[in-house]
């Protein structure tokens, strides 16, 4: 290394100053803070605007209308949870299947095209899903509901008059499942693709079939990512407004998933009724929004607890 020119040497030494790091750290930190601040504002907005409904005593006029806020809101909360649960139950296995298909099963030449095709689902606006759900899907579901009722009617979920328009909570759940599919798929497939080849090869070299290899290396590696994608999809399902609004024929709480005029969700309740709402009624609707916020919070607390426990179990190894 006798040919070293002094010039390059000094150039290499000219490390950038620490300011860059500080600024970048500051920006990143600010990004985090903005999220918390926005969320705090949203929470404050919801809380302040819904006080007249939740604590009517503090607000003289209109108090009597609001006394039964809880009996108003609990069926909505139940409906929201039910429809999201249906959506996730349907979408999760399919999304994982599709992601695996793209990452490990599809002919390699096509896999990115297939990913693109599935992404197409995400490109479709929720209004269109709403229109599709009510015009195309709902009528198709009618005979299925009839069948479910005839054969499985003893289960409370399929009891009650089967809808003859198909505009039920189950149809809404199916539409939501289709809507959250691309979100879950996109995230899962990226994670699946990132599974270290070294580990996959190790499993194959031990004589594992493709499926056993996936079970042993891909799933453990992707577990956190899968849970993330489920949470993201859950958020989407809980908060989806327009599609449910257009598809569902809402009503009070019912165990039956196949009757019309049963169950409703909070976002669609707000979207349906906010335009005509005034004063106390508006507070009531925003309070329902607050309750949805609370549901999301609780669901996330539970999900975190599960994840943490699993992580602990994994760490318990070390």
């Amino acid at each position: 290394m006798t040919t070293t020119s002094p010039r390059t040497k000094t150039q290499a030494r000219r490390t950038t100053s620490e300011v860059g790091d500080k600024v970048f750290y500051g920006l990143s930190w600010t990004g985090g803070v903005i999220i918390l601040v926005v969320l705090a504002f949203v929470a404050a907005f919801l809380l302040i605007r819904s006080l007249p409904a939740i604590a009517p005593d503090a607000f003289g006029p209109g108090a009597e209308e609001a006394t039964d806020f809880w009996s108003y809101v609990w069926p909505l909360m139940a409906g929201t949870v039910i429809v999201s649960a249906i959506a996730l139950l349907l979408a999760t296995p399919i999304a994982i299947g599709v992601s695996l298909f793209i990452s490990h099963y599809a002919p390699r030449r096509f896999s990115s095209t297939i990913g693109y095709v599935i992404d197409l689902l995400a490109a479709i606006p929720s209004v269109v899903y709403g229109a599709w759900g009510m015009l195309v899907l709902a009528p198709l579901m009618v005979p299925i509901y009839q069948w479910l009722h005839d054969n499985l009617g003893f289960i409370p979920l399929f009891a009650g008059d089967p809808s003859n328009t198909g505009r039920t909570i189950l149809t809404s759940g199916v539409v939501l499942a289709v809507m959250v599919l691309p979100i879950m798929t996109a995230l899962c497939r990226e994670i699946f693709l990132q599974t270290p080849h070294l580990h996959q090869e190790a499993a194959l070299a031990l004589g594992g079939t493709r499926w056993e290899m996936i079970k042993m290396t891909v799933f453990p590696f992707a577990r956190a990512g899968i849970i993330s994608s489920i949470m993201l999809a859950l958020g989407r399902a809980l908060g989806e407004t327009m599609a449910v609004t257009m598809v569902l024929s809402p009503g009070g709480f019912s165990w039956s998933l196949i009757t019309s005029g049963a169950n409703a969700t909070i976002p669609s309740e707000i979207a349906l009724n906010f335009p005509e709402a005034f004063g106390q009624r508006q507070a009531e609707l925003i309070a329902a929004g607050l309750m949805l916020f609370v549901i999301t919070l609780v669901v996330n607390v539970i999900a975190r607890a599960i994840v943490d426990r699993q992580a602990k179990k994994a760490e318990g190894l070390s």
């Binding site: 006029p61 009510m134 015009l135 009528p139 809808s163 003859n164 328009t165 505009r167 609004t245 257009m246 569902l248 024929s249 809402p250 009503g251 009070g252 019309s260 005029g261 049963a262 349906l272 009724n273 906010f274 335009p275 005509e276 709402a277 005034f278 004063g279 009624r281 508006q282």
Partner: protein, 338 residues
């Protein structure tokens, strides 16, 4: 008519002076008419832009009270609380500028029209009559061959002025057969099929054999309609029949300019299921320009021209001269707040 002349007397000069953007918002029922009005008004007032936000009556009234809208479109009149909050030192008034009959529409193979009296309509919508060949319906329609199809009641899933008017009608005309108060939400204990907006209920009804619903008559498309029992007669909806219902309605003592319809009227040729959608203005505005804009818009909407435009585009019923005169007077009296 005098107001009209006064307006026209100002002629092109006045028209040229009115300029700027007037912002209003409210009932979506008026959307089609409003599209026509906001578009056509530029022929008379080329520099005036009217924006209308079809956010719904409630949000419209709220925006009006908060000052975001200079006028509101609303399917129902303001209550006294709201009136107190609105317009600062002034007070609001109503102009019944959009009148629309609400049709009771159904989809039943082979049946084009049916007679039903208010009690029967109430029982159908309350779920007490469940098949089309029910005796009570058959009695009133002797020459119609009724199938035994189940009745599917379709109602609005969103809170709506249409529902409020329809339930108000049932409440007023059907006696004991309908026990619910008028409300913009369908009674909770009556579950059934529902859909969002007029177009939603109409398309659901069109797709479902045996379905019946209530909807803005201009939008029912190919559905059959019920001739509603008024006294001894059965009246089909029509623009004139609807207009005469408004004509004969009494002035609302609590809300200036608003009308209280007599749902149980037995007057001949009156179609009682009518929805009146109002424009709500203040009697004084902060600045001169705004007053001019509001006057120009208010007068145009109730003019024969304006009503004709709405009828042509939206299928509404034109208001009568009496109502027009009354409204013109109020609009002309709008002044700059001082």
């Amino acid at each position: 008519a005098e107001g009209d002349n006064a307006n026209n007397a100002g002629g092109d000069e006045a028209a040229a002076e009115v300029s700027g953007t007037l912002v209003g918002g409210g009932a979506s029922s008026q959307e089609a008419a409003m599209t026509a009005w906001t578009s056509d008004i530029t022929e008379t007032y080329p520099d005036l832009t009217v924006n209308y936000d079809p956010v719904g009556s409630g949000s419209g009234r709220e925006g009006f009270i908060a000052g975001q809208y200079s006028f509101a479109g609303s399917d129902s009149a303001m209550d006294s609380d709201e009136q107190e909050q609105a317009c600062g030192s002034g007070s609001p008034f109503h102009v019944p500028s959009y009148i629309s009959p609400v049709a009771v529409a159904f989809n039943l193979e082979g049946v084009d029209t049916l007679n039903m009296n208010p009690e029967t309509i109430a029982k159908v919508f309350a779920g007490e009559i469940t098949t089309w060949d029910d005796e009570e319906i058959a009695e009133q329609n002797e020459d119609v061959d009724l199938p035994s199809t189940d009745i599917t009641v379709v109602h609005r899933s969103d809170d709506s002025g249409t529902t409020e008017n329809f339930t108000d009608y049932l409440n007023g005309a059907a006696g004991d057969a309908w026990t619910w108060e008028a409300s913009d939400a369908w009674p909770e204990d009556l579950t059934g099929e529902s859909a969002q907006q007029t177009s939603g209920v109409v398309s659901l009804t069109t797709d479902t054999d045996g379905a019946i619903t209530y909807a803005d008559a201009s939008q029912i498309g190919g559905l059959s309609t019920v001739a509603v029992g008024v006294g001894e007669d059965y009246v089909e909806y029509s623009a004139e029949a609807a207009a005469s219902a408004v004509e004969s309605a009494e002035e609302d003592p609590d809300s200036e300019g608003a009308r209280v319809l007599d749902r149980s009227t037995e007057e001949e040729g009156v179609y009682p299921i009518v929805m009146i959608s109002y424009h709500i203005f203040c009697d004084e505005y902060e600045d001169e320009g705004l007053v001019e804009q509001v006057k120009a818009f208010g007068n145009y909407v109730i003019s024969e021209e304006g009503q004709a435009a709405a009828e042509e585009s939206a299928g509404s019923a034109p208001i009568s001269d009496t109502i027009r005169d009354e409204a013109t007077e109020r609009i002309e009296a709008i002044s700059v707040a001082g």
